[in-house]
Symmetry: C2
């Protein structure tokens, strides 16, 4: 449900024209018109529908990701953006072939598992060992060297459901570290509880960033981790696991970039970003098809309402985000001497949840601009928080270059039960909530590209 | 939430003792005591937890089903039932090895599929063909002979969500008939939309009863059927499908039977039934572990409240229900000359949903007994409907032998999104609702075995 009330819009119409916006700002931001247009615009949903249908899953470095780039260039061109192009970079691409795990012995049964990104294969025919459960990575780290010789480590900490998704950072530690830490203690494999909040769907994700793991690592759905725990409570338990994966060291990924040219300061860019790659089990609808839909629709929508921008808008669909922000690093490297041309950057990469909070990562002397933006976002239910924005996802690689950023925090209550699972599909997209996101990014785009506000000002 | 109110129980305590129950009925059924005990009894849940943990999936004819029978004999003995034993019967057992399907060509992507029970394998390496969509089986039947030569038929009708699960009978037709009908028209394979209401989980189930299909049949999750439909809307679409299954013609299944001996009429039996086998993707928690837990707990509970029964209670956990009521047929055949000893039969095989309605399948001169039972069930929210009960699941094979039956209709709103899918696991069991079911079956057990009412009376 949208929470924009008529009263809220009227109040806003009174507030904003009266505000003393410093610098060269249009005196009357078309906030009401932008919000009204966004709340009935379904281009972001249509974009997500078409990307997930035409391409489906888009794992970094695969042919599907390459098809998605071509698709995106065509789509951006069709949507009226200029100079749509691909910025390529090399990638060691990893793909799953198959994986399975089963409890053997008196409680024999299959477990629902998927390998972590980067997991090596087991020896052909699989491996089998007694399972040793650890409550979390700290408990595994405390295990003595050699104590897991010939065994399988099972790290079982649970990610809590929260609005801000704050448990995710802790939950993913086991995905990144189990392999190395368990190997040091003599283990032959890792089983880890899903770092996501879905009961039944396995939440996959990259293991150790930028490197192949030492041990094969299988992720158990939460319900299957429960089940393994119940069986372990009955006595010693052996599990058989089999993983086959493949690596293509000479693969390629790429970022897709396009512009809407500014009329007054065409060499100043407002960057609106998302990422095009996805995990391989769902169709990457929430992560991050919808994010690309949101930023693309938002830019189009402001141009519809307010005409051409003063500054250029640069849309970037990053590649290879999921496997370690590889596209972001490539782009930041390409931009390192030209970062001053980026006047503002924001990324949409938390699915379709409503945006409820904004953090700024601007210069010290930008209070007027921040106040104006925060006031405009208020009727959409977005509260101003702090000044510690570091740039979400790929944009985080631009912040160290001095690029002003905004973090638009979305309600993640649902996101982490869908994110990185087979459930990340079009059917999960909440059209109403997406419209609110488009409205927010459209207002951000307006303040960034239809004014000449300085967000770096110290 | 239970809807048994204190006021309801008090009202009932007034009504029942005053009722003129015909025949040899205890004048004061311990309705209040049974309900109160059931609503805090978790033996049905514990049974389900232990069965699904100790054994897990129990596909008919497999070693897992055999382990489940041994487990059940031990459990029934431990619960105080006597003469726990296995009634074996031969079975042609079918198992899945693996299956996959993918859209090929410009929209290449994997589809989430599982084979129907009884589906044959594709040729090694799989098969590929253009997909032809049919809105339902009637549309496929209307296709001209030869019109599907070399193609894959896709039958796409959707099962609606209803409280009484009434759409299921229609939805499963395609699962049973696509193979034969499509083959007659020249097709090389079938894709069918899941006959269940889950968006993402494939609802599996038996194809043509008691026979291997002609064509390989893959079931698409509802979301994947949507996806295939969206891709088909863009133009001709080819799908590659691969199925490997195996058949063991000389396998065996069995029914597990045990008794609680009656003190006055030990050769009269009240049959409380469920089935022990399950589909292979989940752990058969709702279908039908919980049903076995419910009837077992119900019988134990009445004995706790009211002492030993007058008639014997026979608990039957049928085998091989899922693949065509094979255990039911074997048992009905074994009982065909002794069916008069079965004075009443009921089965719990619709999961954990609240019971909201009762149908009787009794003789004509049983109004007093029906009224007494219906009145006792009323405070649990169970309404009396009609006299057309045919016996649910396995018990339906006893009705033609003249056995009086009761159909206890459960709210199936949730059941058909879990039933036959990988989601049929312990985590889905609603403890409160299960307690209500135990209360209902306990009251049925009381009227059946702690009285000598004649439910056959004409």
């Amino acid at each position: 449900m949208m929470k924009v009330t008529a009263a809220g819009l009227i109040a806003l119409a009174w507030i904003l024209p009266g505000m003393a916006l410093a610098q060269n700002v249009q005196p009357n931001p078309p906030v009401k018109a932008i919000i009204e247009a966004a709340l009935k615009d379904d281009r972001a949903y249509a974009f997500t529908r078409d990307l997930t249908t035409d391409i489906g899953p888009r794992l970094a470095g695969t042919q599907a990701e390459a098809r998605a780039r071509d698709w995106a260039v065509a789509r951006l061109t069709q949507e009226g953006f200029s100079n749509a192009r691909i910025e390529t970079f090399p990638l060691t691409a990893w793909e799953r072939v198959h994986e399975s795990a089963a409890i053997v012995g008196p409680h024999a049964q299959r477990l629902e598992v998927h390998a972590t990104g980067g997991s090596p294969s087991t020896p052909a025919g699989g491996l089998e060992g007694e399972v040793v459960r650890f409550a979390d990575m700290a408990a595994l780290r405390a295990a003595a060297p050699g104590s897991l010789y010939g065994k399988i480590a099972f790290v079982d900490d649970i990610m809590p459901v929260t609005k801000d998704g704050s448990g995710y950072g802790t939950a993913v530690v086991k995905r990144r570290e189990c392999s190395a830490v368990a190997a040091e203690r003599g283990a032959i494999g890792c089983l880890i509880r899903s770092a996501g909040t879905s009961e039944r769907e396995v939440h996959v994700g990259q293991g150790a960033r930028g490197q192949q793991g030492v041990l094969p690592v299988l992720i158990l759905a939460n319900a299957d981790a429960n089940q393994l725990g119940r069986v372990l409570a009955k006595g010693p338990t052996r599990v058989r696991m089999e993983v086959e994966t493949k690596v293509q060291p000479a693969a390629q990924s790429g970022n897709v970039i396009a512009e809407m040219r500014g009329t007054e300061r065409p060499d100043d860019y407002v960057v609106l970003a998302c990422h095009l790659d996805s995990w391989d089990l769902g169709t990457g609808a929430l992560d991050d098809g919808v994010g690309c839909g949101i930023v693309t629709a938002a830019a189009r929508l402001v141009a519809d309402v307010a005409g051409p921008p003063k500054r250029s808008i640069r849309i970037i669909y990053f590649g290879a985000e999921e496997v370690g922000l590889i596209g972001a690093a490539a782009h930041a490297n390409a931009m390192k001497d030209k970062a001053a041309s980026y006047v503002l950057a924001a990324e949409s990469d938390s699915g379709d949840g409503r945006i409820y909070q904004v953090d700024f990562g601007f210069g010290a002397a930008t209070e007027t601009a921040k106040a104006a933006i925060a006031t405009a976002l208020q009727p959409l239910g977005v509260a101003r928080r702090g000044d510690n924005a570091r740039g979400q996802s790929d944009i985080s690689a631009l912040r160290p270059l001095g690029v002003p950023v905004m973090d638009l925090q979305q309600d993640a209550s649902k996101y982490f039960s869908i994110h990185h699972t087979p459930d990340d599909i079009l059917e999960k997209v909440d059209v109403e909530s997406v419209r609110q996101n488009v409205a927010v990014y459209a207002l951000v785009a307006w303040f960034g590209a239809w004014t000449t506000l300085d967000f770096r000002a110290q």
